[in-house]
Amino acid sequence: MSKTQQTGDEATVTTGEFEREPVAKGALKGANKFWGMYAGEHAAGTEFMIGPLFLLAGVTLQNVFLGLLFGNLMAVLSWRFICAPIATKARFTLYHHLEKIAGKWLVLIYNLANGLLFCFLAGAMITVSATAVGIPFNMEMPTVEDFYPNSLTFVFIVLAVGLIIAFVASLGYEMVSRFANIASPWMVLVFLACGIVAYKQLGATSWAELNSLWSESIIFAQDGKSESTMGFWNVFLFGWFCNAAMHVGMADLSVFRFAKKANAGWATSAGMYVGHYMAWIAAAFMLAAQIKLNQDANPVPGPMANNVVGLAGIICVVVAGWTTANPTIYRAGLAFQAMAQTIFPTVSRFKATFTAGIIATIAGAFPAFAWQLLGFVGLYGTILAPIGGIIFFDWYFRRNGDAEAFQKSSPNSSFNIAVFLAWLIPVVPAFYLIVYKGYTAVNFVLPCWLITGLLYLAFSKKPKAA
């Protein structure tokens, strides 16, 4: 799911150079550099969680296949036609681009929200890794009913895994991102192998038979009921917006500013159809096979992977969790550091990143974050993506797409109240409805994005020139 794993190329892209200036022509990269990056990036530890959660939510097999097919297509189109065109013209990171519109203090608030949400996401990845590491220790696996840690062993393993990840992230992620880059082709094949083996274990020989097995699995998982909490449109919207903060939310301006042409946006299809289609469906089949063979509907990634492909599956879960949690914590640390430095200028990246790692580790000890991943991802998009709406509407209706003038412009103020209000007015009620009233989070992403953009136009004035 997550747009978190950074490869060597992206490492340079997001943190190394051109942080406060447009990317130089000589540093631009061809589209081919982005294909592998996105394919590897979306083969993350959380993919093992998301597929099975569709089954537990009672989604029909047809809705899984079709909803994700079209939802992922919309995600690719969003990257290609919303994010990449602005990125390849303005050529700034999201943070610098936003600073020019909203001012540095508002960027700090965005950073805080971003950093905290990254920590919870990393926490889910630590939980996923811990379920694999716990296998040789005969750890009692948490179940979907567990909100709190279910055993002391689980807590110790989460602490050990989390602290190692936090420490490595604090040292920098160059080595881990290189390892992630190397491991990703292998991980993609393990995902595929998991799907093939699980399908075989299901023993279906036709679509009707597969459909029937799937429905039986839902009934078993729901203790005799067969209730679907997600229809086609929910799955479609989830496929589209689970990375909303990255495409319509414009976080990937930081990536595509290095692309020669906006066509590089098509590279995201590798991530969507490998990670968010094949891997999710493979993981869902793994749970269905586990239900059929072991009458166990607990969607814990470590044991599920072990059942189908053995040790390679266990290591894949650990590696996928580690290589994605590590840069997530690193990014959260950078966000915290940027925020803290406005008050304490000497705060080091090590301390900020390690703090982020500790928060993520604590979150990881609560399995509920992993079980609620579908909802959490929607909430994450609802909170962060509307900032992309501001960037989009500002670019086309305030700047008329004039990159040169934008690059030379300076912020109207250090805290743009128009941006702040435009962001809060739709997001606060949406947050309330999602968290306190239980509405489906992904349904709010697009309305919030649009309303934020339109409110920004209504509240803001034309920016001043440099």
């Binding site: 292998w186 192998a193 093939i196 492909v309 053995g310 040790l311 390679a312």
Partner: protein
Amino acid sequence: MTPIIKIVSYIGLALTIVPSVLFFNDAMSLDAMKTSMTIGMLCWLVAAPLAQRTKDATK
């Protein structure tokens, strides 16, 4: 040396995916498949970083 490392890494990838296809076609047992995938994993995770290092060094 480099060609050998490359070949080992490709064998690693092949041993990761081919056994599952053989299992699917009833040409391999589940245990044999798991063992083959473990060997494949070791081949890839050992050889691929070495191949990458050699590639970086020649750049």
